[in-house]
């Protein structure tokens, strides 16, 4: 059941790249996206970047207890969100996927509510910060245990196959996740079932401090797809157009019944692993600086400017607009207020059993 992607070859040594350092188009085919979408992609990149900065700042201000920054990962995240049909397809993201959430349209107030643990979080502040979610958009609540969302993503994929409505599931995870047994079990089951799931590894070369060579027996993540009878692709995860074209192709392929695929998006996280980490202990500052020079935003902005779709004034206006909406959303999320103590005892089951009634009463007494 393997249909090869028409534009891209699986298992290429070099990651697919479509936009050059100066914003030049490198594709062997024509760039055929309309201008509106091209601009929209840039807006989404900026939103994701500014959102991330805001989340980091909230943590520094003590308004949030934790953050896992996404700067450096935006291009692939935005491409994921643009490749799916929102509210129809499903996403099983991981904690760093704020670019997926913001692009998909998860309300900012919900995002900030979750980050600050207020009533604005539809999940009642049950999870620690950096666990995005959206029932309305079929985005399964992110969870902490690495790779543990991948088996459920495959289960959802199998259910989609049975339902036959053409839904697709996209699940994303880090490079470290590929070492977990759950990841393997899920990938293999998807391969056997030909489930419509696109697996996206945001390979930032580190799992906290552990670098890729200590993480993976194989040199690339993409080649692990061999083990599951599915194609594996490498893409420059900081090139939003390469990511989008590839993701659209693979989502379409899955939708048409040709089964799962694995994408390795090479990215880099600019910040520490999380607000609890100090990355200077394990990686040189020059390495970070070198990757920052490949930043997805200026590179893609240069492409837009070449096409006269963007300029400094547009940039300024956009940043002002985004910042204003972020400020407003933070404010709304904060003023929603904290969640009450006794909510702790709800939602363990559909109805609260006797022992939780007792425990709630004891705790309140």
């Amino acid at each position: 059941m393997i249909r090869d992607s028409s534009r891209f070859q699986p298992f290429s040594e070099q990651p697919v790249r479509l936009v050059g350092d100066q914003g030049e188009w490198l594709g062997a085919f024509e760039l055929d996206l309309d201008d509106e979408l091209l601009v929209r992609l840039y807006r989404d990149l900026v939103l994701a970047r500014l959102l991330d900065e805001r989340l980091v700042r909230l943590q520094l201000q003590g308004k949030s207890s934790f953050v896992a920054p996404s700067a450096g990962h935006e291009a692939i995240q935005i491409a994921i969100a643009h490749a799916v049909r929102p509210g129809f397809d499903w996403l099983f993201p991981y904690y760093r996927d704020y670019g997926v959430a913001s692009t998909l349209g998860v309300p900012l107030v919900e995002i900030f509510g979750q980050m600050m643990g207020t009533r604005a979080d539809p999940a009642k502040a049950r999870q620690m910060p950096s666990h995005p979610s959206s029932r309305a958009l079929n985005m399964f609540t992110a969870l902490s245990p690495i790779a543990a969302h991948v088996p459920p993503a495959v289960g959802a994929g199998i259910a989609m196959k049975l339902a036959g409505r053409g839904e697709v599931c996209v699940t994303s995870f880090g490079d470290g996740a590929t070492s977990e047994g759950d990841w393997h079990a899920a990938m293999n089951f998807a391969g056997v079932q030909g489930a419509p799931v696109v697996f996206v590894c945001e390979n930032n070369r580190y799992a906290i401090s552990v670098e890729l060579q200590k993480q993976s027996g194989s040199a690339t993540i993409a080649e692990k797809a061999h083990a599951y009878g599915m194609p594996g692709y490498r893409v420059d995860g900081m090139d939003v157009l390469a990511c989008l074209y590839l993701m659209r192709e693979l989502v379409g392929r899955a939708r048409d019944g040709f089964g799962p695929a694995l994408v390795e998006a090479t990215v880099y996280r600019y910040g520490a692993h999380s607000s609890a980490d100090d990355d200077s202990m394990y990686r040189p500052a020059e390495e970070v600086a070198a990757w920052r020079r490949r930043d997805p935003l200026p590179r893609y902005r240069a492409l837009l400017e070449r096409r006269e779709l963007w300029d400094a004034a547009a940039e300024e206006a956009l940043r002002a607009e985004v910042n204003a909406s972020l400020t407003e959303a933070v404010h709304a999320a904060e003023s929603a207020g904290g969640v009450p103590f006794e909510w702790m005892f709800d939602d363990v089951y559909a109805t609260r059993p006797w022992h939780l009634d007792e425990q709630r009463a004891e705790a309140e007494s």
Binding site: W90, F92, P122, A123, K124, R126, Q127, H131, S133, R135, F140, T141, L143, P145, A148, H149, V150, P151, P152, A153, V154, G155, A156, G157, I158, A159, M160, L162, A163, G181, D182, A185, A186, N188, F189, V192, D346, D347, V348, Y349, A350, P353, W354, H355
Partner: protein, 322 residues
């Protein structure tokens, strides 16, 4: 109808009733499961709804979770309860917490069936009773019926429920216990209610699952000696029916708690702790546990490991003599 048949027929009728019910696990297809609990389902409902999975319990439980989140009602089979540990994280960290962590935005109505218990010459890894691990995990419901009728009624409740259920099956009794079960598709046995199997005023015997057989035999032997026991089959371990237990133990004042999982932190530790907390003054003797040993399950001593009638009677004698 015996207990395996109770499982098979209930699965079949639930699949008939509701298209969203699917079965998955190792060898559940053509083979009908190694205990034949899914026999005939593959022929009847086809490979889309009766899914032979790769050999991975994490894939089975994790995929079932994704299916249920997406709207199906999966019934997963773990070939032996002992192998649930390979998919343990999916069960305790993911399945159990789906409703809670999303505040009910996503839920996981699903069933994980597993034959459990010793006495089948299966050694360490075909004999265990891991219910403690599930009961201690908030978010899971745990049941362990001991009769065909309860198997039917509780499996129906499990399949139709709103939350994940660990459905433990007493494999030693699979074909040993038979009874007529009325063919009423709406007869559900609700969770959290114990069954009082026998009434007597001298001692209360409490058990569940496969050990109900030994407990019943002990009660018979006691009756022959003129000692009348109340026998409670807990059936449901989370939630469990503390009210019925406390009522009878308070009335009688003496009890013996029988279960074959390892003694330390076996389910009966909880029952004993609650009895001591709630009705201390009603106790005429200490609540004594008769349990499996705190050893891995041995092969050679397969039967002696189990809390059999002799050990139960010894304990009853102690609480009566107290």
């Amino acid at each position: 109808m015996n207990i395996v048949q109770a499982v098979t027929r209930t699965l079949s009728s639930e699949m008939e009733r509701d298209d969203s019910v699917v079965v998955l696990g190792e060898d559940v297809g053509k083979r009908g499961g190694v205990f034949l609990a899914t026999q005939g389902l593959f022929d009847r409902f086809g490979p889309d709804r009766v899914i032979d999975t790769p050999l991975s319990e994490a894939a089975i439980i994790g995929a079932a979770l994704g299916m249920s989140v997406h709207g199906l009602r999966p019934v997963a089979e773990i070939q032996f309860a002992d192998y649930v540990f390979h998919g343990f994280d999916q069960l305790v960290s993911q399945v159990a917490k789906t409703r809670y962590r999303s505040a009910g935005q996503f839920t996981a109505p699903m069933v994980v069936r597993m034959p459990a218990g010793g006495g089948v010459k299966g050694g360490h890894h075909h004999s265990q009773n891991p219910e403690t691990h599930f009961v201690h995990t908030a978010g899971l419901q745990v049941v362990y019926p001991s009769t065909p009728a309860d198997t039917v009624g509780m499996l129906r409740s499990a399949v139709r429920g709103e939350d994940p259920v660990v459905f433990m099956e007493p494999k030693r009794l699979y074909r040993a216990v038979k009874e007529d079960v009325p063919d009423d598709p709406d007869r559900l046995v609700p969770f959290g209610r114990a069954a009082v199997r026998r009434r007597g005023d001298d001692v209360v015997l409490i058990s569940y699952g496969a050990s109900m057989a030994e407990t019943a035999r002990a009660a018979d032997a006691l009756a022959e000696q003129g000692i009348e026991s109340t026998v409670i089959d807990l059936r449901s371990l989370m939630p469990w029916d503390a009210r019925t237990v406390l009522e009878h133990v308070a009335r009688v004042g003496r009890c013996v708690l029988v279960s074959e999982s390892p003694r330390t932190l076996g389910f009966m530790s909880e029952v004993a702790a609650v009895i001591a907390e709630e009705i201390l003054d009603a106790l005429l003797a200490p609540p004594l546990r008769v349990a499996g040993a705190d050893t891995p399950y041995p092969y050679a001593q397969d039967r002696s490991y189990l809390p059999g009638p002799r050990r139960i009677l010894n304990a009853v004698q102690k609480v009566l003599d107290y």
